[in-house]
């Protein structure tokens, strides 16, 4: 398992409150995992730990055999781990195109002459436009994000994460605020353009969405993993349903 993401015994405490308690997870290259659980169960904290936004109180994180624990957010991003955000994060003062450019860090190489620079820039431009095309955002390339709808903003966040050509992508509620139709569309786009061979962790409340994309699912509750296994089995679990809908029996 040296080549995927390996997380062992990860804990995060704020003062006396545990956001995450001894979570362990192995992710093979190319594998897609769903991560579900009620609010405050530690899903976003987990993502923050993996991407270096926060540092664990205990435990370690490895990616492709290298330890990531304690590394800064930018060096983790440069190793090929990209993420999206539950509360939308875009650069509101940059145009859509520039937002994409901001994400292009892993593919820009230093160029020695102006012509080489120009060629690199044109290649970057083509790549960005084709990515924007996948998410039907190409028409909006010169707009500032203020002009975009919520769904388009979510797509921009996703497209920007892809611009760095990451090996592992972490999606934090990518379908939040989308209608069932939009959610289906997003699932298709993800299937076609994002997840082909790339490993991913998807946090989402919409279980159909998880079921369509992830073969394996983790359930978190109060910072602990209470279930882990093939998605369809996990979703039939009684405890899981009780926590989601307050069902009894």
């Amino acid at each position: 398992m040296a080549s995927g993401l390996r997380v062992s015994n990860l804990s995060l405490k704020y003062g006396g409150v545990s956001a995450l308690c001894g979570l362990s997870m192995d992710l093979a290259p190319g594998e897609v995992i769903g991560l579900i659980g009620p609010n405050g169960s530690g899903k976003t904290s987990f993502l923050n730990l993996v991407t270096g936004f926060e540092f664990p109180t205990e435990g370690a994180i490895f990616f492709e055999g290298q330890e990531l624990t304690g590394k800064s957010a930018q060096s983790i991003a440069r190793k090929g781990i990209a993420r999206t955000f539950q509360n939308l994060q875009v650069f509101s003062r940059l145009s859509v195109y520039e937002n994409m450019r901001a994400g292009c860090h892993r593919c820009s190489k230093p160029s020695s002459s102006f012509w080489q620079f120009k060629a690199a820039r044109n290649a970057e431009k083509e790549r960005i436009l084709s990515l924007l095309d996948c998410f039907s955002l190409a028409d909006m390339a010169l707009d500032t994000p203020e002009a975009l709808t919520l769904v388009q903003l979510r797509q921009l966040d996703l497209a920007r994460a892809l611009a760095s050509e990451p090996k592992l992508i972490l999606l934090d509620e990518p379908a939040a605020g989308m209608t069932p139709y939009e959610t289906d569309q997003l699932a298709k786009t993800l299937q076609d353009h994002v997840l082909n061979g790339r490993s991913a962790i998807i946090i989402e409340h919409k279980i159909d969405f998880i079921a369509a994309l992830a073969k394996r699912t983790f359930v978190l509750s109060a910072g602990r993993a209470i279930a882990d296994g093939p998605t369809d089995e996990v979703l039939c679990d009684k405890d899981v349903r009780r926590i989601y809908l307050g069902e009894c029996g």
Binding site: E173, G177, K206, D208, I210, D232, C236, G246
Partner: protein, 256 residues
């Protein structure tokens, strides 16, 4: 009726965070408001307390229109809230925290001199009673920042009660609590209701919401998709779809 929202909408740019929501809460009721993340619950609370001005619609308390009032004026009329992330005055003592909330809105009514030189004593039967009710009496003089997590939650609710509210808005009071704590919390919320305060409860811990609310409403995409008693809601197919993403026609995994 106690609290009434009529046709409330709040749009942020192109995003309809709350879209044409109407709710009516009766006096002495515990009313639950649930919905998936991003469905507009917090925005609704912020519209009621006045942090946001609505794009359209009105909110009224006991028939009095609140829509144009500032936050502190609404507090004076009887709207109080707690926060999902606790917000206390960490460098004031427990008693001072309550004192601020009890008197914050009363200035104009009290005599100038007595108002200026009363805070030193902090002898007030209401506050004493509230401290006992919240089991914080022994901590009266310690700094709020020195309390334990559970005590902070209790103090936050006590502070909301100190302003003598008619309606108390609880924003995910069980966040970060275990299931056992949740049951205790349910009893406390009932005890608060028995003091004559109507309660609007936003919560994700379904057991808690289903267990103690009289009626509840469900939001999704900023719209109200259902309203009724907890058992109505539990059997409502739209609600199941919103929560589990399961389309009505599909086989329910739980039936397996």
């Amino acid at each position: 009726m106690m609290l009434k929202l009529e046709g409330m909408s709040k749009h942020f740019g192109g995003v309809k965070a709350v879209d044409d929501v109407s709710l009516t809460m009766n006096e002495g009721e515990i009313f639950g408001l649930i919905g998936p993340n991003g469905s507009g619950k917090s925005t609704t609370i912020n519209l009621i307390t006045g942090l946001y001005a609505p794009t359209s619609g009105t909110v009224s308390l006991e028939g009095r229109d609140l829509t144009a009032l500032a936050q502190h004026e609404r507090t004076a009329l009887g709207v109080a809230r707690t926060f999902q992330n606790i917000r206390l005055f960490g460098n004031l003592s427990v008693a001072e925290n309550l004192w601020v909330a009890q008197n914050g809105h009363k200035q104009r009514r009290q005599h100038f001199i007595s108002r200026w030189f009363k805070a030193g004593g902090l002898q007030d039967t209401n506050i004493d009673e509230l401290l006992r009710f919240s089991r914080l009496h022994s901590k009266k003089d310690s700094l709020a920042s020195a309390l334990s997590f559970g005590e902070m939650r209790r103090l936050e609710m006590a502070r909301a009660l100190a302003s003598n509210p008619k309606v108390l808005l609880l924003d995910e009071p069980a966040a970060g609590a275990s299931i056992e704590d949740g049951q205790l919390l349910g009893e406390r919320i009932r005890a608060v209701r028995d003091r004559g305060v109507s309660i609007l409860l936003i919560e994700h811990m379904m057991e808690l919401v289903m267990g103690i609310t009289d009626r509840m409403a469900v939001l999704n995409f900023g719209r109200k998709i259902a309203e009724g008693t907890p058992s109505d809601i539990q059997s409502n197919p739209d609600v199941r779809a919103a929560y589990l993403g399961t389309k009505n026609k599909n086989k329910e995994p739980a039936d397996a």
